[in-house]
Symmetry: C2
Subunit: 292 residues, 2 copies
């Protein structure tokens, strides 16, 4: 499908993408670009790349360039490669926020270079290329976004690539994507981190808490283990939507607090029932059993 | 170990306990007591009971009586059985809150009847006897609490029973238990319900949100599917500790909100890093992979 795919950023997503491209024969050659030589060694160990480079300018060797670094790290990386980019090159990314990034990247690209935003809804709190999996994209939604620098054919090229990775491409307007993931992904990450903090920074001894940790704490705080740098960037590039989602969340918590303060049984029942109803509406009940 | 064990309340825990007692030969006979005949039929289908009754007074036939109903339903059930209770009977429960319940039950019991509080840290958001599993207690912490009506031998009897169920008994002071589970279990349930509500009650279409639901939302909100009645009762019987935990949580969220409002990257980085550090301190990193 491509001659050379350059992947800039060799973490879980970049590494998994490299593995999938190679195993599925979607690129003649995968060039991995990372900040550290040790990361490239790991990527080679995982058979995620054919070739490695520490120079972001080498991205220009790709006819497809995929930026898989934290969102705020991407514009400077693109700026370094930009002068060498050839017309016809397709540039994409795998960032969790889309509108601000598309806006920042568009002016950096020379004429004839296409930009399509991408956000594979796959990932894990376990970062790093050593966690990469060839099947990471299997069954995942792959959001693609269009901007001022997107030719009609290039959206379909990225969509077709995502299909060949086993994912389901969905085109969304970048701003709508950002609003929706603020509620369905970014807010949960903030909530999980704050929940872990509220448990761990209280006055109770760790040993006691560890003893009583059960499935409920484990699952609600699982994503609190995610890389802080990545989530800082996501927050900074989707501030308004996350603030709006957070305001809705704080209001829901205030309803709980007031009902608790007033020992209002029916208020508590209604609040839990609203949560249950929303959960069941948004997530099909086929998750498999898990202990609380 | 026991002649007749009466289990009052045939949900996930009551049913699983009946199955485990029968399969492991820990009781000559398991008597299940429920509100509805259909529940007893289900319990029989699951081989969780030998005999069933709809009359809470029949609990007095047990030399061990286990109350496995929502916490606030337990005192009236105990009051009904109390006049018929024989000296030497051991009364326990499996409620998620302990201090208020122990305090409420003690004056109801006739002389010579022992009360030991119990809280097996097992369960699931999927309630109901049809979800019962013989191995539910396997490897779980089983908290036992002592009160004014607890003879020294009875704590050990319940502890031994929990061991034979495959659980690990831990004796804790009831108030300390309640404070710790407020942070590690009750607050996460409130947070999960509010998170589901914040996503589902916003202005965005369900179809869009459902499309973008990934592992992060799935796991942070899993326990929002829990039975609202049960959680109302838990909140009402552990109000102060949950309010204190909630105050800590709201403070952690406010730190996130302020950092977001100010586009303060280092504040966001620190907040996510605190969450990551607390999570890693409290939960060993052996959870197995899960996608975000």
């Amino acid at each position: 499908m491509f001659d050379t795919v350059a992947i800039v950023g060799m973490g879980l997503i970049g590494g998994s993408l490299g593995m999938a491209l190679r195993r599925r024969g979607l690129a003649r050659r995968v060039l991995g670009i990372a900040r550290r030589a040790a990361t490239l060694d790991e990527a080679r160990t995982m058979a995620a790349i054919d070739d490695g480079s520490l120079d972001p300018r080498d991205a220009a060797r790709g006819d497809l360039i995929v930026y898989a670094a934290p969102v705020l790290a991407i514009p400077p990386l693109v700026a370094q490669a930009a002068p060498a980019l050839r017309p016809g090159t397709l540039v994409t990314d795998v960032g969790s926020t889309k509108a601000a990034l598309m806006r920042d990247l568009e002016p950096l690209l020379p004429a004839g270079v296409d930009l399509v935003g991408g956000h594979p809804m796959a990932g894990s709190e376990r970062g790093g290329v050593m966690e990469a999996r060839e099947d990471l994209f299997e069954g995942a939604i792959y959001v693609v976004t269009r901007g001022a620098r997107t030719s009609p054919g290039s959206v379909e090229r990225l969509a077709e690539l995502s299909r060949r990775l086993g994912a389901l491409p969905v085109e969304l307007e970048a701003g709508l994507h950002d609003q929706a993931v603020a509620r369905i992904s970014h807010l949960p990450h903030v909530a999980a981190a704050a929940l872990a903090e509220a448990a761990g920074e209280g006055a109770l001894p760790d040993d006691l808490l560890r003893l009583l940790v059960a499935g409920g704490f484990r699952s609600t705080t699982r994503i609190a283990a995610s890389p802080p740098e990545m989530w800082r960037d996501i927050c900074l590039t989707n501030r308004e939507a996350i603030l709006e989602a957070l305001a809705g969340y704080e209001a829901a918590l205030v309803a709980f607090r007031r009902a608790l303060e007033a020992a209002d049984g029916s208020g508590l029942l209604e609040a839990f029932a609203r949560g249950q109803e929303c959960r069941e509406r948004l997530v099909p009940r086929d998750d498999g059993p898990a202990s609380a």
